[in-house]
């Protein structure tokens, strides 16, 4: 053993030098990128996420336009309608927010795709192959996380930008169009990307913890949709639950991308930190689980 060790190390070094082949984090990321892009299902889900994003934004824009034209049709005065429909200033805020509204739909698709990134590997036992090629498990999971989070970020930002571009000609007749550099617009667009990225991290982590695509998707969508409903019902019982509801990822996410958040809601930064907190805690749990459990 003692005599063969130096020889084998030299041989290994030679083999490595010969081809420059060795496992690195960036290479693991590259591998995960090939995985994502070599499955038709990825494209289908990402396309639907993108279309959903733009579609919801389009509906929001139509709604703003409709309300604005209704307001203008009423004329300056009718007291009741003014309170109901809001002021011109508020239309402006709504209009500036339409680009990011699409995340309410896109998050479900992104979350599902993220769960599948690892859930399907356990389902198909591909995880065995993955962890043989990348036996450093933290590297393997972080590479996956980076790829799906990065992709989700791009879908969010590009989706929001295109939504912005589509909205402008529709808003223009009502004087509600605005430049990209207007207050909070770029922040809202980037936040949409960041939110989807963090939701992807949450989904992937839940997928890694449950090791199952179906269970992971149900759980993640449950956190995003069912939990807020339960908390909303319970908030009638105790005010504590109302406050708690603000800290759920979907609610915090809406505050995060908002142009202007409600008085009793989280600020954009707070919302972002809350969603980040969910993602980080879930990912930490996933890393510990993957590291400790048998593959």
């Amino acid at each position: 053993m003692t005599t063969t060790a130096p020889t084998s190390r030299r041989a290994t070094a030679a083999a490595r030098q010969e081809s420059g082949a060795g496992l690195t984090f960036l290479r693991a990321v590259h591998a995960e990128w090939i995985k994502l892009t070599s499955l038709r299902s990825s494209y289908i889900i990402l396309t639907i996420a993108f279309l959903g994003m733009v579609g919801i934004s389009l509906l929001s824009t139509l709604s703003v336009v409709d309300m604005a034209s209704g307001y203008i049709a009423y004329g300056a005065d009718p007291a009741g309608s003014e309170a109901q429909l809001g002021t011109v200033e508020e239309f402006g805020v709504m209009a500036r927010g339409v680009a990011s509204n699409g995340i309410v739909i896109a998050q479900f698709l992104i979350a599902s795709l993220a769960v599948m990134q690892i859930g399907s590997e356990y389902g198909t036992r591909m995880i065995t192959t993955t962890l043989t090629a990348v036996p450093r498990r933290i590297t393997a999971v972080l590479a996956k996380t980076l790829v799906i989070a990065g992709t989700s970020f791009v879908v969010g930002v590009v989706g929001a930008l295109i939504s912005y571009a589509i909205a402008q000609p529709m808003l223009e007749p009502h004087g509600l169009n605005y430049p990209l550099i207007a207050d909070g617009v770029i922040r809202g667009i980037v936040s949409a990307g960041v939110y989807l990225a963090l939701i992807a991290v949450l989904g992937l982590s839940i997928g890694a913890l449950l090791r199952n695509s179906a269970g992971g998707i149900v759980t993640t969508l449950g956190v995003l949709t069912v939990l807020p409903i339960i908390v909303a019902i319970l908030s009638g019982v105790n005010d504590l639950f109302r406050d708690l509801g603000l800290f759920l990822p979907s609610s915090a996410g809406m505050d995060m991308v908002a142009i202007r958040t409600a008085q009793d809601h989280l600020t954009q930064v707070q919302g972002g930190l809350v969603v980040l907190g969910w993602a980080v805690v879930a990912l930490a749990g996933a890393l510990i689980s993957v590291k400790r459990r048998d593959a």
Partner: protein, 309 residues
């Protein structure tokens, strides 16, 4: 080279691998034999760090698998040919693995050509036959041109031509100086392929020796047909030679050479008209080994039965 020291793996109450110590040497094919559930696959998973040992440790090429800078260049493994995403094509599957180590694209083409899957490379692996799946798994194992190769039941689902191919491949890999660790339930296959055998039963190593030595463990016998079987029986019994009467007039004699048997027959005036030496097959030697183990285990369990209840 693989070195396992006191490797143990328990799943809850069940001990799958029980204090296993062995070495797989470079430059030869080491066969890993054992009945189903004996702990072969678990041992292989432990080697690759897919399962974490309950105690003991295992090194490949001098260190734990995960600690190598280029794991795929150290060990190429085919543990489960179905461990892949069915909707991905073979070439993409291999490209993913190659990407983790920065292995050049031409090597992917090389291993596909080597394993004969080039023509189906772009098809989804979902439609692959078991044999094609095995070939893809072997292609993946060879991707990093590893120094140690681990194949779990590689000939499963292969046609005779494929079996022959795997046999030649493993022999060639060993001749290139690689350590080849091969599990199979086909004993006859092992006899033709392996240089060294590690036999495992119920999680424990039963035998760890060169193939020739294991073969010697199985006793050679001689079939004798005689018209005066009663006289021959008496003669053999007098000489303290073990035999069984398979059918009237046909004895299976163990522990004596044909020449000796013929002399005894002559002394006792028994005419013999058949004297057939029967070589112990590896399969029989193996059955012999595992039967002892199973019997020992059953006895042990029976004794411990009260305690469990």
């Amino acid at each position: 080279m693989i070195e396992a020291y006191g490797l143990t793996k328990t799943y809850g109450k069940r001990t799958a691998v029980d204090g296993v110590t062995f070495t797989v040497q470079p430059g030869q094919v080491t066969g890993f034999l054992g009945p189903n559930g004996a702990g072969k696959s678990t041992t292989m998973r432990l080697i690759l760090g897919l399962d974490l040992p309950s105690s003991g440790r295992v090194l490949v090429n001098g260190r734990p698998y995960a600690e190598h800078a280029a794991p795929l260049r150290e060990v190429g493994a085919l543990l489960d040919a179905k461990a892949l995403h069915p909707a991905r094509s073979a070439v993409k599957h291999l490209s993913v693995l190659a990407a983790t180590h920065g292995i050049r694209r031409s090597r992917v083409d090389e291993v596909m050509a080597m394993t004969g899957i080039t023509e189906t490379a772009r098809k989804r692996v979902k439609g692959f036959s078991l044999g094609m799946g095995q070939r893809l798994g072997i292609a993946a194992a060879l991707l990093g041109d590893p120094r140690t190769v681990i194949f779990d039941e590689p000939v499963n689902g292969l046609d005779p031509e494929g079996v022959q191919w795997v046999r030649n491949l493993t022999r060639r890999l060993a001749s290139e100086g690689k350590a080849v660790f091969l599990s199979s339930h086909l004993m006859s296959e092992m006899a033709q392929t392996a240089d060294h055998l590690i036999v495992i039963g119920r999680g424990r190593i039963i035998a760890d020796a060169p193939v020739a030595e294991i073969l010697a463990h199985g006793q050679d016998r001689t079939l004798v047909r005689s018209d005066q079987a009663d006289r021959l029986r008496a003669g053999l019994a007098a000489g303290g030679i073990a035999f069984r009467e398979l059918e009237p007039g046909l004895l299976e004699v163990s522990g004596a050479e044909p020449r000796k048997i013929a002399w005894i027959a002559r002394e006792h005036e028994a005419l013999i008209h058949e004297l057939t030496p029967v070589r112990a097959s590896l399969e029989e030697a193996y059955m012999e080994l595992t039967r002892d183990d199973v019997e020992y285990r059953s006895a042990a369990l029976a004794g411990a039965g009260e305690g469990n209840r």
